[in-house]
Subunit: 513 residues, 2 copies
């Protein structure tokens, strides 16, 4: 059995059964091995940013790693932006990156690049297989690393000769690496802070955003009056009617500073100290107020839910907290307006849906009005690399098992990875894509104003997508996805209801402003 | 004057007057500066692979650097694949990559990444500006580096505070770095080899592929009987009726080995020793025959044309060599077939056109039948990162000044950078895009067969683009580019003639097989 087949069989033995791929020549032995190994589902993406974005969505949906298969150098390069989001979201993932044969690399053929250096910029774990005899062990180590808390990007670089040479066959999975347990000291420190009576906030991330994490946090909130918050971008948040309504920290620095202004104790449960996405002249980088004390209850790789529960117990909180009831909003009518859109969306969102949001300017106000939607999960573009939602929704839908996946995508970001629509059509995935077509990089118009500048010829050129108008229904049609363009909330509601009721992908272009 | 404006004015003073851009928040002060500086043309690309691909095409067309403007981390990541091609093609280019403010970087905000590490993988020159007072000097050094022979990728990382803080104003250009002169020893060694009477080949690259280089090489060929060849991929080759018909080394290892089998002396004029794109079991990596002696007449950064002329003089070659006349082929009829397509294309190609080819499987046989086309220039995907032609053609057309730019793009690669079509429409660029729609990664089917494997379920999934069919006319329409689909050579001829006769972009989808 050659190295490639040993690799494929080891991945499968380790529980990795889905591969998002865009292979090249150096990967042909691995592709040939996939032909011989039953049980691995291969999904083609037409550009690597789609491939890695799919794996990100799949990992967030399932909590387990998909594999990717990419080509050396430029192939991996095209996948880096989506990997950046996945790394920042702690998505488990195993990348297999084919590369020049070990003895061919010194010849510096045209596609030769610093594959390992590129991988290192977005991976917590990187290894280059040196001989075919090691490939199975390397693959098992990659899966182990990907699954290690909190979830990691593991990249295995596979020289072509390590794929085609004889191996010693597949290996069994390596033992799982357990989450670090609850720190009694951290619980005691947080309990003391929360008992002080001073204004407190608990910031949740990672497993703290699961239903169990939120219930434990709500117990604490009920017992102490502490506020609960999510970071600006969440990797995966359980929300909707019957769940804790957790708002997130605003993106804009001034608004975030205002939210944190009175917080004297900030307890971090999987989250990090909040900082601005960017620096702005004269504005703070760290967003907490001067004098705010920060207490790390649990780091992202630790047992966050256990720590929250231990803290709630230490505070004598009720076992079953009251969850405030949020009513389902009514669908609205008229032109697009973010809050009205959020209400309409909340009124119609199907039960147990998975929402991927990269709606940027149009999306900021959608979050609060959707607290009253049917129970669902929500994911943001955690690393800020736009063009996330089409791809991540596509990958999640591969594992959705009957759940609807909804993609909220700004038009500017959408043009980064529109190729994902083709994969949705190919795989007949249940994704409803909503494109917010404001025909400009509106966020940048805001950012230009934030630096005190007036728009001029260059910025008008660089921020406008209006000429020519991007016709999303044509783009969708070109890739085999049914679509409709709407201009009002009532037309959107009709289209969204119809799209949710049918199988397969659909795209709604919402023409805005 | 802040650092951003000093940067913009310095670029302009150094002769850089075109910027391909997709900015983000960290670049707002630079965008604002562009609003205040007249004479810099800003061209928006809807993904960074388009931005850098445009700059590659522009640099090949003009011989001078365009600037790019990209966002930190993931923004640059998306541009790396096209930069890889440009680096391998020795295209001059200046990348300005915005980044986190120096004092904000340690906070590790979500978009923070190893920007300099990413840049290093594709740049011959990288610098991160440390204070605003240095930015103008850094920009002048970047342009100097980009223009240094043979042409380099220079990447300047610009922290946001270096853009917004007060600077000391723009600076004048740094002196140009001259090409290294002709080595008399190298000329003498090559002359001796060519006088030996043993079978010889001169392999040309860089400036050796210019009209002057080819004439000098043809003088040598005529005097000695040496063969002339180009590498498999050329950065920019002058060709067509009245010019030397220079064939290239085949891509396939066996075919390349056959071409080189009898060559006893290989003289390199800007080219490197030919090696296979990839290793294959049992096949050689270096493609020259055992016993072949290699002689470096001029390295890529040296005076290649001067060295060829000196060699011709040393050999007593005629000053004006005979250039064999190649007749213009006749347009053909019927279904697509690569040679017939090449003949039809050659019959109709306008005078002085610039051809960018990333046609992969469909493109390999187009080269020889187009020797008899009207004089033109031809560029290949020098680094092997597919998805090159749409973007490079777009950037070249920005500087084409009335010349037609023709893009020969395979459908698989085309899906990597289809967003370039929107920029063509936005800028009303004279590009005729020809998409070879064979609806599969045919090259990979060949590569799988080359490793001795039979297609199976995985490879059939991963190599087919047929379901759903990609409808290029819809995609073009969605981005404002007029288009037509053809299925025969005569329909193609009609469409191509019409497209060449009008202004602005056009796309022809050639449905194949």
């Amino acid at each position: 059995m050659n190295g490639a087949e040993a690799l494929a069989r080891t991945l499968l033995a380790c529980g990795v059964d889905t591969i998002f791929a865009n292979p090249g020549t150096a990967e042909m032995h691995f592709v040939s091995a996939l032909d011989r190994v039953e049980g691995l589902r291969c999904v083609l993406g037409l550009a690597e940013t789609v491939v890695t974005g799919c794996a990100d969505g799949y990992g967030r949906m399932t909590g387990k790693p998909a594999a990717t298969l990419m080509h050396c150098g430029p192939g991996l390069s095209n996948g880096l932006a989506s990997l950046h989001n996945a790394k920042r979201g702690f998505t488990p993932m195993v990348n297999i990156v084919g590369d020049q044969a070990t003895y061919h690399r010194p010849l510096d053929a045209p596609l030769t690049a610093d594959t390992e250096g590129l991988a290192r910029t977005v991976s917590q774990w990187v290894r280059t297989t040196s001989v075919a005899a090691n490939v199975a062990q390397d693959a098992a180590a990659a899966v182990q690393a990907a699954n290690a808390p909190p979830g990691n990007i593991a990249t295995l670089v596979l020289p072509a000769d390590c794929a085609w040479n004889e191996s010693s066959g597949p290996v069994a999975p390596l033992p799982a690496i357990a989450r670090q347990g609850v720190s009694p000291e951290a619980v005691a420190v947080a309990a003391k802070a929360l008992r002080s009576g001073a204004s407190a906030m608990i910031m949740l991330s990672g497993a703290g955003l699961s239903e169990a994490g939120l219930i434990a946090a709500q117990r604490i909130a009920q017992a102490t009056g502490a506020q609960l918050r999510a970071p600006t971008q969440v990797s995966r948040l359980a929300r909707g009617r019957g769940r804790v309504s957790l708002d997130r920290l605003p993106y804009a620095v001034d608004a975030a500073v205002k939210v944190l202004a009175d917080v004297k104790h900030l307890v971090l449960a999987g989250a990090r100290v909040p900082v601005g996405f960017f620096a702005y002249p004269g504005k703070p980088g760290v967003l907490t107020a001067p004098g705010c004390e920060t207490h790390v209850l649990a780091r992202i790789e630790e047992d966050i839910v256990g720590a929250l529960a231990a803290l709630a117990d230490a505070l004598g909180a009720p076992k079953s907290p009251a969850i405030p009831v949020v009513a389902r909003p009514e669908a609205k009518r008229g032109r697009f307006e973010p809050v009205a859109f959020g209400e309409t969306f909340a009124a119609l969102l199907p039960e147990d849906a998975y929402v991927f949001e990269d709606a940027v300017t149009s999306g900021r106000a959608i979050f609060p009005p959707t607290f009253g939607a049917a129970p669902h999960h929500w994911s943001h573009v955690t690393g800020g690399a736009i063009g996330f939602a089409f791809s991540a929704a596509t990958g999640a839908a591969v594992a959705a098992g009957g759940r609807k996946v909804v993609c909220l995508q700004a038009d500017g970001g959408g043009m980064y990875c529109l190729q994902a629509l083709w994969t949705q059509a190919r795989e007949k995935l249940d994704v409803v894509n909503i494109v917010f077509a404001n025909r400009r990089y509106a966020i940048l118009q805001g950012e230009l104003a934030a630096v005190g500048a007036q728009p001029g010829p260059a910025s008008n050129t660089l921020f406008s997508l209006a000429d020519p108008e991007i016709r999303w229904t044509k783009l969708a049609e070109g890739m085999g996805v049914e679509s409709v363009r709407v201009e009002t909330l009532e037309a959107f509601a009709d289209a969204f209801k119809a799209a949710c009721a049918k199988k397969g992908p659909f795209l709604i272009e919402f023409a805005i402003g």
